[in-house]
């Protein structure tokens, strides 16, 4: 479960990236976070992951405060950033071992998970190569595998489908569903409204640091009193804000 209470974040003293944002994502739910470029999606995600410090408000991840019990809270999270270009000079296997050590994963567990996940994502043959030699999609996959090694209950994924081939994208969507169905939380941002429409239990639309709408697809259609696509509702919502 993720809880944000009155969270605000300002850059450079003037630009309010996140403005008094409150949000609760219960267990067992896939939550989609939508918004135009520069709306505050990535900032919100970075606040939850403990990368940025909030100016005010509290963030709880499975009941742990991300600032006061930082390490415990971070262990609950599996975070996939929006750019997978990291540790390029490490081999795939070295990166996975690094992540497993940082998250305290036992030898047996990591062996089993590396084997299973890299087979799932078709990465087994390239684990001995440097990440530098990977394509964008492969980098995305190795980051995903690294994030899942400690079996985190809360997944936070920033644009996770970008660059993935159709098969891997399908696989990830299935994994997200299974993970949520086991009583865990999946929080992800996306530009692809189609994906959001099909996968999410609930969505929130954010613009200029404020939540414009938060609810299920049915609630959203109710809100607009018409039976239109997420795309047209999204456009209407964010346009009226311009």
């Amino acid at each position: 479960m993720i809880e944000l209470k009155n969270v605000s974040k300002t850059y450079g003293g003037t630009v309010k990236a996140v403005d008094n944002l409150s949000l609760t994502i219960p267990d067992g739910e896939i939550f989609g976070f939508l918004g135009p470029n520069g709306a505050g999606k990535t900032t919100t995600i970075k606040l939850i992951a403990g990368i940025l410090n909030a100016d005010s408000g509290t963030i709880l991840v499975n009941g742990r405060d991300i600032e006061k019990e930082a390490l415990e809270a971070k262990k609950q999270i599996g975070y996939v950033p929006d750019t997978p270009n990291m540790f390029l000079r490490l081999k795939g296997i070295e990166y996975l071992n690094f992540m497993a050590d940082m998250y305290d994963v036992s030898t047996e567990e990591r062996k089993e998970r590396i084997e299973r996940l890299s087979r799932h994502f078709g990465m087994t043959d390239v684990l001995q190569d440097r990440i530098q030699s990977y394509s964008h999609g492969m980098r995305q996959k190795i980051v995903l595998i690294g994030v899942l090694l400690h079996n985190p209950p809360v997944w936070i994924l920033d644009e996770p489908m970008t660059g993935l081939d159709p098969r891997s994208s399908f696989l990830l969507k299935e994994m997200m569903r299974e993970h949520a169905d086991r009583g865990n939380t999946v929080f992800f941002s996306t530009h692809v409204l189609d994906v959001a429409e099909k996968v999410c239990d609930r969505v929130a639309i954010i613009n200029k640091g404020q939540i414009l709408f938060c609810g299920t697809m049915e609630e959203m259609q109710e809100h607009f009193k018409k039976n239109s696509s997420l795309e047209s509702m999204f456009l209407e919502l964010t346009e009226s804000e311009e």
Binding site: K46, A49, G50, I51, L52, N53, A70, L71, E72, K74, K75, I77, Y79, P81, M86, F87, R89, L90, I93, E94, L96, N97, F98, A100, D101, M102, Y103, D104, V105, S106, T107, R110, K111, I114, E115, S118, T124, D125, V126, L127, Q128, D129, R130, Q132, S133
Partner: protein, 552 residues
């Protein structure tokens, strides 16, 4: 063609090679202001003062022109040695290379533009040494305006020859190391070969061209009429012509020398451009390609590799792997630890006569009662060798925009900082070890004294590792687009060298009061233990707070 080259050079300069003050903290700006407004002018006045003294002596022998030729020769050598590092970084390892290659530019235009940028930066360092010598000579010898005009031309062309030679060497090496699948590794080797070859060539030049018996030199001295100027062509070939142009500025022979000096510089630059057109692309293309093996990872291999390690151990190992595998980091942070004994050993290989100097030095070092001072000297050497590698003083900067990764890991900032200290400390120890081995083998320092030094000399390494990390935490350079900006153009390395002066006071005291070994040992150990405890405390309180505040 000319326009495109100039345009490219201007864009490269604008793209923030060099000191980019925009966005720097007030602390950085003040520090840089102090360096520029106080330290550099006082250094230049210092040179002018020394030059005036030397001129008085040399003029009485009719050898005052030597000042000019030495000035040009030493400057050219400095440009040459630093040029090798500069050229590798800007011609090949800079991230803009990949963006320039697809543009409709001729290879020689890219090389000419990059050469121009490096030359402009070289003017700053060259000016610090050359200006005081030039002006002081002109004023002292009451030269006509023509002298200043000739001097300006000599100054403007000064970096051209050494930089061209450095570029040619590097281009040839890079052409032939760009073959392997393991480019990073081969390129690092290429860079190393380039540096050694460059240094070796320089020494050979000095050796072949400058070898003269003492009698011959005496004869030259007695001859007067600036006859010694000829000798400096042994240090750097163009130095003699440049100096003669300036000395005989009011004669035809001066004009002829200027023509030869300028002609030689232009010729060697043209050779560089010709070579660039032929081989630059082949050396620079595929810069960041990495080989892929696509090996099936067998169960057995996975079982061997997927083994749990400690957090600090794995973190430190990863830091070291990145330092060794990133060419720019390897050349600037790792190699420098091995480089300095080679700096001393190379002349010995090429000029065996110098063994005598070492032998004399060794005799002095083994005089009884001097052990305290040797210990103090070892502490100073350890301080500066480990501060110069810049590992901890760029360790936050090297994270760049990837710093966010270190923020979401469930690893305490205290542990992360400890691992960063460890990586710098371990590599610093390597340079200290090579120093001790050098001491034992070459200077014949007794084994027991070496062991004693080994037992305590890690303290200054720890000190500079701590100060480096603290400095980088407070003034990190995170906004970079090419790795070389994180380490090469990072002023924190310089700040850390300055911080190394603080505890050197203890060593100075040992020298001033000629303290015995036990006294020196107690004073120095106490000094560093106290300082390291204080800095460690500071790192784990204020440093951690600062790490939390850092955001990208």
């Amino acid at each position: 063609m000319k326009n495109k080259t100039l345009l490219l050079a201007r864009t490269l300069i604008k793209n923030g090679e060099g000191l980019n003050l925009k966005g720097s903290s007030t602390f950085t700006k003040i520090a840089i202001l102090i360096v520029f407004a106080i330290l550099i002018p006082s250094f230049m006045f210092g040179i002018a003062f020394v030059v005036t003294g030397l001129l008085t002596v040399l003029k009485s022998m009719g050898q005052e022109g030597v000042i000019l030729s030495w000035g040009i020769a030493i400057n050219s050598t400095i440009v040459f040695v630093f040029g090798i590092f500069y050229v590798i970084s800007t011609f090949y390892f800079s991230s803009d290379v990949e963006m320039l290659l697809p543009l409709p530019l001729k290879p020689r235009q890219i090389v000419a533009a990059k050469f121009l940028v490096v030359t402009i930066y070289e003017y700053f360092t060259t000016a610090i040494f050359f200006l005081p010598i030039w002006i002081t000579y002109g004023v002292y010898m009451k030269c006509s305006p023509m002298f200043y005009l000739y001097g300006l031309i000599v100054f403007l062309l000064l970096p051209v020859t050494p930089l061209s030679i450095a570029s040619v060497i590097i281009m040839i090496i890079m052409r032939f190391t760009n073959l392997s699948r393991y480019k990073d590794t081969v390129r690092m080797l290429g860079g190393m070969i380039g540096i050694f070859l460059g240094l070796g060539l320089n020494i050979v030049m000095q050796n072949v061209l400058g070898r003269m018996s003492p009698e011959e030199i005496m004869e030259l001295v007695q001859k007067g009429e600036n006859s010694l100027v000829v000798l400096t062509s042994g240090i750097f070939p163009t130095a003699r012509w440049g100096a003669e142009a300036m000395i005989y500025h009011n004669q035809l022979s001066g004009f002829m020398s200027l023509l030869i000096y300028a002609g030689f510089s232009i010729l060697i630059f043209m050779i560089l451009l010709w070579l660039a057109q032929l081989i630059y692309l082949k050396g620079a293309a595929g810069l960041s390609e990495t080989g892929s093996k696509r090996n099936k990872q067998g169960r057995k291999q996975l079982a061997e590799e997927a083994v749990r390690g400690s957090v600090i151990g794995t973190y430190t190992r990863t830091e070291l792997k990145l330092l060794f595998r990133t060419p720019i980091y390897f050349i600037n942070c790792v190699m420098i630890n091995f480089l300095w004994p080679i700096f001393i050993l190379l002349p010995l290989i090429f000029q065996p006569e110098e063994i005598n100097v070492i032998r004399e030095l060794s005799q002095v070092m083994n005089r009884p009662g001097i052990e305290g001072m040797i210990l103090a000297g070892a502490f100073i050497a350890a301080l500066f060798f480990s501060a110069s590698n810049g590992i901890t003083s760029t360790s936050i900067s090297r994270e760049g925009q990837e710093l966010f990764i270190k923020k979401y890991l469930p690893v305490s900032y205290r542990q992360q900082l400890t691992a960063k200290i460890l990586s710098g400390f371990l590599l610093g120890l390597v340079s200290v070890l090579s120093m001790i081995i050098f001491g034992i083998l070459v200077l014949k320092i007794s084994i027991w004294l070496s062991l004693l030094i080994l037992a305590v000399v890690w303290l200054p390494v720890l000190y500079t590792s701590l100060t480096g990390l603290l400095i980088d935490l407070y003034n990190p350079k995170l906004d970079w687009d090419s790795e070389q900006k994180a380490v090469k153009q990072n002023i924190n390395v310089l700040y850390n060298m300055l911080a190394a002066f603080v505890p050197a006071i203890g060593s100075a005291a040992v020298f001033i009061f000629s303290l015995s070994l036990p006294a020196a040992l107690i004073i120095l150990t106490l000094e560093y233990v106290l300082l390291c405890l204080l800095l460690g405390k500071l790192l784990f309180t204020k440093g951690v707070e600062r790490f939390i505040q850092l955001e990208v």
